[in-house]
Assembly symmetry: C2
Homo-oligomer: 251 residues x 2
């Protein structure tokens, strides 16, 4: 059994904890949180702590806190030369304190309260300072996911930016569509099959092959009529910029 | 059996034909196309024609052609006072020639060659000039979909604009993410679980509840670092505009 301890109790930490608890090859030793009431059900063998000085020996310490807290938490760890990973897409591995062996364990997924994810399908991007540590990191990732892969810090940054486009920005487009509909008493429900099909389409076609619509067709009448229809200046700007971007892409 | 004839043979027409052929309550009478070789397999009882003057009697004529051709095709129909529908999200019902009883049959979905859709779940927006015709339109829609609904021309326009946001623009964000990754030798595959989860999340949460990421958190360090990372001016503009839009939305 590989001994893992988790530092953090937010959405991502809670979902990681739930995944590790189910794994037969991982022993979850301790979970640290300043707010122990946030920690979900744990097996009796795993101990809740709220003081970092109580951290016991483990093979891997996963720091699952907000990006801005990672460096400070890593400095407060009461030991040296042990394997420590953060789980962020955008924080450099070197922001971890150099007293310990540094690594990254970045699950490429969006964690929201009230929506459980299936870890099996989640890609986990791994990086380690020492090549020797990579094998252990990979074993831990394989215990919960079918899809761990090595990645450099530079690639991880690209992946994080790309994730902002496919997740944060895409979700914001859903929100705008929701507003456009609800202002005219159209339920958002009606858009859901289209929204889902849009995502499912690129499972088998490339986004370029999947592109349709007035911008791709250079249908200037429809584009003009949509822009006249939109009254919100911000929505107009987004419509214009994305339409131009699709058109450039087709050239 | 309700007699339906289809005018057109593009992606949308082909998928509608396939759905009607399977329905026990619809008799597909004729399919018109200038390119009969495009028409998929038809039952023996359905006749391919390539001259509009050969159109036989039917309860409903569905014009499934590009937006810009709808008016011209409707003018060429060799009969009067029959029920005619177009299937476009953005064309006014009144663009159909007034010689016939006008209506709209708009399936809210994206049709791409090489990707079959399941019509059962597709919402179909219906509108008719005469209230008497609505019942028949609804019966035809119910023959292939569980989700027909009445909609005004104004609402249909809103729905079409919203569809551009959740489909065309979202797919373009996938394309940008694909570019960002492939330039750094990261396979697009890695983004797929996140992309799918982003869509699935709003099946149960509202887009507002589902929003995460640096813009929502007002994490200016990450935003700055992403903008420094992006080298393409167009990508920078889109990143900036959508980040600002998310931030305004959170105020």
């Amino acid at each position: 059994m590989i001994k893992v301890s988790i530092i953090g109790s937010g959405n991502a930490a809670q979902q990681l904890i739930a995944a590790f608890v189910k794994s037969p090859t991982i022993k979850l030793v301790q979970v640290f949180s300043r707010h122990p009431e946030n920690i979900p059900d744990l097996p009796d063998s795993c101990i809740r702590i709220h003081n970092l000085n109580l951290l016991a020996e483990a093979d891997l310490y996963l720091i699952v806190v907000s990006d801005s807290a990672i460096a400070a938490v890593s400095e407060q760890l009461p030991f040296k030369n042990r394997l420590v990973a953060h789980t962020s897409g955008s924080v450099a591995m070197t922001e971890l304190d150099s007293n310990n062996r540094r690594s990254v364990f970045y699950p490429l997924q969006t964690f929201t309260k009230g929506k459980k994810v299936n870890f099996k399908t989640i890609p986990i991007a791994l990086e380690s300072e020492n090549t020797d540590d990579y094998a252990l990191l990979e074993q831990v990732a394989k215990a919960i996911s079918d899809n761990p892969f090595p990645i450099s810090s530079e690639q991880r940054k690209a992946l994080h930016v790309a994730a902002v486009f496919v997740n944060n920005f895409t979700n914001h487009l859903y929100e705008i569509a929701n507003k456009i509909c609800s202002e005219r008493q159209i339920p958002f429900e009606i858009l859901k099959p289209l929204l889902l099909e849009t995502a499912e389409k690129v499972m088998t076609l490339s986004p370029k092959e999947a592109q349709t619509g007035p911008a791709k067709r250079n249908d200037s009448n429809t584009i003009k009529s949509h822009l006249e229809f939109l009254t919100d200046e911000n929505q107009k700007k987004i419509y214009t910029l994305l339409t131009q971007s699709i058109q450039k892409n087709e050239l």
